[in-house]
């Protein structure tokens, strides 16, 4: 069945798709968002880790391979709002050094834009959806910008208890910027600090798409079609333009949605999968893939978690899942001898019983039961997110097995390089020193399998089709009315949690699209 043609069809109703929908619907465009999962409402967000799994990935899995398989499922989304329905809402930004790593260190590649190009959009997003924090305090590490619209969040003992240790280690900690309300903001209430953010905030204190961009988009007339799984992007016979998408609806019926512009906002693994599956005789390797770059340079953050038990009550059930304190002190790429890459240091976060159990994954039986009782009020943690350098071999590709709609499954191959492992180890070493200086009764590194947090890359931005898939706005180098949004367009990973940058780049891309509309539709 072919639907009435619209101006823009957006594949994916998560963080980036919601921004595009909001900006373009407000600009008077007829917008349809296609989302493969359910249309969650705030009342669906039960305060339970078990029930919270309903909003985690489902549908066709991405098969995992490599030395460090990308364990994305806890972070990914399923349904309207995507991963941003249950994200932690940590809002650090990338720093100027992230955009010119090639120029400064002869490593990886530069972004085609600078920090100054993105900074106004960080500020705009903060004004739009609300960010709590202390911008002035951060400006010891980054160029000055606007103040955040809300003061920092409350802190609790599970964060405060680390400050002495960081100070002794020469690491200044400042209030972390978060996409949560420390006070009422635009009619949305202040946070209650009960730590259920990661299963979805039903009161709207956390800036999920439902209460921000997506709500605005719907008010402006954007249509959201849930249970709509896109399998191909369609092109004209000459292969010079995209004409819409093919998808399967909630009754598993094949549908065609024609559109003047297609935006792929389906997350870093699915965007390449869709482009690769949309090959034609004019684009034999997939859309936007003349250089063979689609699916490559998949990136992640490794995380070094340091756990500690204190004599004091750490109030670890209080706060938010977002962190209370952060530092860019180890963000310069050569901060640790023998390792390369940025580290983003955080402290203080609320924990649930799963977190307590996972902090000592080796314990079971009576020892686990005893540990859980002790950890319930005494445990606290710090985390250092570490940068992974882009590697061509970390990739998404199609395999012969197919999903229920006949679309080939994607396989994601990922391995960390020696720099990443060295940086991870260096962050562990520093974490233990901080814990000791903080007066921890006992402290340990949360090792085990090297974590993969935040999936990025796969359709990276650059200056030409020779070395990248899209330009800095997310527009395909090869097909001007095909756009890609989200972390898949990041050129490098930095070490900062990505969602603030996803919002900022999407705002920048969507505004560009609106301003250049005539060139896209002629």
């Amino acid at each position: 069945m072919t639907n009435e043609k619209v101006d823009v069809v957006i594949v994916g109703a998560g963080a980036s798709g919601s921004v595009y929908a909001s900006v373009l619907a407000k600009a008077g465009k007829k917008v349809v968002l296609l989302e493969s999962g359910p249309d969650w409402e705030l009342t669906d967000l039960i305060s339970s880790e078990i029930w919270g799994r309903r909003i985690k990935p489902a549908g066709a899995p991405i098969l995992l391979d490599g030395k460090n398989p990308m364990t994305y499922s806890a972070q990914g989304g399923w349904g309207v709002g995507g991963a941003a329905l249950h994200y932690f809402a940590n809002f650090p930004r990338l720093l100027p050094t992230d955009f010119r790593i090639r120029s400064e260190h002869n490593r990886a590649h530069d972004w085609p834009i600078s920090y100054a190009d993105v900074a106004p959009f960080y500020d705009k997003v903060a004004r739009e959806i609300g960010v709590s924090g202390d911008a002035r305090a951060e400006e010891k590490w980054r160029p000055a910008g606007e103040a955040y619209p809300m003061p920092p969040m409350k802190t609790f003992k599970n964060g405060d208890i680390w400050l002495k240790g960081f100070e002794a280690s020469g690491i200044p900690m400042v209030p972390a910027p978060v996409g949560m309300n420390s006070v009422e903001f635009k009619g949305r209430p202040a946070c209650l600090y009960d730590g259920w953010c990661h299963v979805g905030c039903p009161i709207g204190a956390l800036a999920n798409p439902q209460v921000t961009y997506l709500g605005d988009a719907r008010k402006a007339g954007a249509e959201v079609r849930a249970w709509s799984t896109v399998t191909r992007v369609l092109t004209n016979p000459a292969g010079t333009k995209v004409t819409g998408v093919e998808y399967y609806d909630d009754k598993h019926q094949k549908q065609i949605q024609e559109a003047s512009v297609v935006v792929l906002a389906a997350w870093s693994a699915q965007n390449p999968r869709l482009l690769l599956n949309s090959a034609t005789d004019k684009h034999t390797k997939g859309l936007g893939n003349a250089s063979g770059m689609v699916g490559h340079y998949m990136m992640s953050h490794h995380v070094a978690s340091t756990w500690a038990m204190f004599d004091e009550d750490t109030q670890n059930h209080m706060g938010t899942i977002a962190v209370q304190y952060m530092s860019y002190e180890r963000y310069p790429k050569t901060s640790h001898a023998g390792a390369f890459g940025s580290s983003f240091i955080t402290a203080g976060f609320a924990m649930k019983t799963t977190d307590l159990a996972n902090s000592r994954a080796d314990l079971f039986g009576p020892e686990l039961a005893d540990y859980m009782k002790r950890a319930a009020r005494r445990l606290a943690g710090i985390k250092a997110f570490g940068e992974e350098q882009p590697n061509l071999e970390n990739r998404v590709e199609l395999i012969s097995e197919k999903d229920e709609f006949g679309m080939p499954l994607g396989k994601l191959t990922h391995s960390y390089d020696q720099d990443a492992v060295a940086l991870w180890n260096a962050n562990f070493e520093e974490g233990l020193k901080v814990a000791k200086a903080a007066g921890a009764k006992e402290a340990w590194s949360g090792r085990g399998s090297m974590p993969t947090s935040h999936l990025m890359g796969g359709t990276i931005m650059g200056t030409s089709a020779a070395d990248s898939v899209v330009n800095s706005f997310g527009q395909s180098h090869e097909i001007p009315n095909l756009w890609v949004a989200g972390p898949s367009i990041f050129a490098t990973a930095g070490a900062s949690n990505p969602t603030f940058t996803i919002f900022a780049l999407s705002q920048r891309g969507a505004e560009r699209m609106a301003s250049q509309w005539g060139t896209l539709t002629n």
Binding site: G37, P38, S47, E49, A226, F364, G365, P366
Partner: protein
Amino acid sequence: MADIGRRSFVKGASLGALAFTVGGAEVVMAAGEARARGVPFRLLDAHQGETLEALGETLVPTAREAGIAHFIDQQLSVPPHESLLQARIFNFRPPFAEFYRTAITAVDAASQKLYARDFAQLTPTEQREFVDRMRQNKIEGWTGRPGALVYAVLRADAVDVVYGTMEGYEALGIPYMPHIPPEKRW
């Protein structure tokens, strides 16, 4: 949201328990209650249920009474996109039942080789020794998914039924503080 997804979600979540089949009718109750009432398994056979209970109890004390086998069994019977199992977080490819069936087979095969008895028939001390070796992938001749993965998944399931409930929080003295509370203290 499409009707089927929303209806089933709201039904389960608002009642705070799972739908079990009793006498041909669906009855909503907590997994521990289903075990106490002797509700028949939907997919597991008696031996599989007994083995999951023994593994769960070894991993997290009181998991048997909390209904770990009934929880897993009930969750294996719902569509994968409605599943609450940790298998979803471990990125297993549906159907998730395949993981549990092969894990139980691997555990029993290794237990027979080491002790000449199925895992559920071992003494608690033997079960602890076995699980500790499985956790470290130190059982020779182990077949199927790695022992450490079986340990991680089943431990996570057991943590769910024992500590993921409102009773579990209460037992640890942790305020639950829900925005939207599950009823019946789930």
